[in-house]
């Protein structure tokens, strides 16, 4: 395989590779379907039934039901696609993204206003550990 060890060494980061794209294809295509208002309505009326229409894995479906965005990333989701889920829940990027950081929305917003997260300590897993 291509050596992706440098990508894997980035802490708190899931790089959306071609391999993940294939694994996440049904999940991400399901997300795309939520661009249509009629689909969003059906989704919110019965999420489980809506997800069962797609060839997604059980883990992918459960992660969506749980709104566990980090788990969705791990299972091949891409954040631009996952945004269709949180937008349909009425959440902004800042609100949804903060859930992956272990910070409250307020803490995350304060961090951004103060200039964002410094890269120091976040450049590699070894630097982080």
């Amino acid at each position: 395989m291509v050596d992706n060890s440098e990508l894997d060494d980035l802490p708190g980061t899931t790089v959306f590779t071609a391999e993940r794209s294939r694994q996440g294809f049904p999940l991400n295509q399901m997300c795309m379907s939520l661009m249509a208002a009629a689909n969003r309505e059906r989704f919110h009326a019965d999420e489980r039934a809506y997800l069962d229409e797609w060839p997604m894995s059980q883990e992918q479906k459960q992660a969506v039901l749980d709104r566990d965005f980090q788990r969705m990333l791990d299972l091949g989701g891409n954040v631009y696609f996952l945004s269709k889920i949180f937008a349909s829940d009425g959440l902004s990027y800042v609100q949804a993204v903060s859930t992956m950081t272990g910070m409250t929305v307020e803490e995350y917003q304060a961090m951004m206003l103060a200039g964002g997260r410094s890269p120091d300590g976040w450049r590699s897993k070894s630097e982080r550990a």
């Binding site: 980061t13 590779t17 991400n28 295509q29 891409n78 954040v79 631009y80 992956m100 951004m112 964002g116």
Partner: protein
């Protein structure tokens, strides 16, 4: 003969488009950002080019994951603003330049760039937010636009070097178009940002500002930056800055920076902006 008269780089954060569309540009949060584009607004209104080749990326709006083109060139006569899920942005339809686009398509493929050609394409905030930042809210955009969509969502995007060389090939192709057209090339996206994972919110002002220096004065060095450096230093979504190299490659080696602006944050993102003029 057609000629490239300027290059422009800017972030294309969706929240900026919402601030414009909802009339919030003078809010305390947004005012400093829009102030940084005021110089550009006057410069742009004074002499809009005939055509802008607008390099951007789609964000799961017009493209799903069935087909992922590395470089997709819009050859249509017009491009509708995407419905990104809650109705299209209230902006004018984007008018293309199909004759120049067909010329670019043919020239670039014969120059061994493996384009995907788009006879139909809806354009998302990646393309329309830069137009709004530069031209405000006109009835019709004052310039024609040829969209060039670059894959920066799925890894790997094209290398910086490939983008730089594509810019150079665009320069050659424009120069061989017989009609007397003024053409600008805009590179969009960035600067540092990450909107996923525990590292979300990453901003690297030092790295961004070195990038703003070097893209003006030493673009070959920027073209050599590997993906891993963008990902590590500028965040997983910061890698979209490779698109600025297409713009830079399309200019002469020597350029003058007419305007430069940097601001943190817009939503999750560091905003960077340059206006570059080729020097003879």
């Amino acid at each position: 003969m057609a000629r490239i008269t300027a290059g422009l780089a800017t972030s294309h954060v969706p929240a900026i488009g919402m601030a414009i569309d909802l009339g919030k540009t003078q809010d305390a949060y947004w005012q400093p950002l829009f102030a940084g584009y005021e110089w550009t607004r006057s410069w742009a209104d004074a002499a809009p080019p005939d055509v802008v080749i607008l390099v951007y990326n789609d964000h799961a709006s017009a493209f799903d994951l069935t087909m992922i083109p590395t470089f997709a060139l819009g050859t249509a006569a017009s491009f509708q603003p995407c419905d990104e899920g809650y109705g299209p942005r209230p902006v004018p339809v984007v008018q293309g330049h199909p004759e120049l686009a067909a010329h670019l398509a043919q020239s670039l493929i014969l120059d061994e760039f493996d384009l995907t050609l788009m006879n139909q394409l809806d354009v998302d905030h990646g393309l329309t937010v830069p137009l709004s930042l530069v031209y405000g809210q006109p009835e019709a955009w004052p310039t024609k636009v040829i969209p060039l969509a670059v894959n920066v969502v799925q890894y790997p995007p094209p290398t910086g070097n490939r983008c730089f060389n594509l810019g150079k090939a665009i320069r050659r192709a424009v120069a061989s178009y017989p009609e007397d057209l003024s053409v600008q090339v805009w590179g969009t996206g960035g600067m540092s940002h990450q909107i996923q994972g525990a590292r979300a919110g990453l901003i690297n002002q030092e790295w961004d500002n070195r990038f703003l220096d070097a893209i003006v004065s030493d673009p070959a060095a920027v073209a050599a930056i590997p993906h891993i450096e963008y990902l590590r230093e500028a965040g997983s979504e910061g890698v979209e800055m490779v698109m600025w190299l297409i713009m830079r490659g399309a200019l002469s080696d020597d350029v003058e920076a007419l305007h430069r602006f940097y601001h943190v944050p817009a939503s999750n993102t560091a905003v960077g902006h340059l206006v570059l003029q080729p020097q003879p």
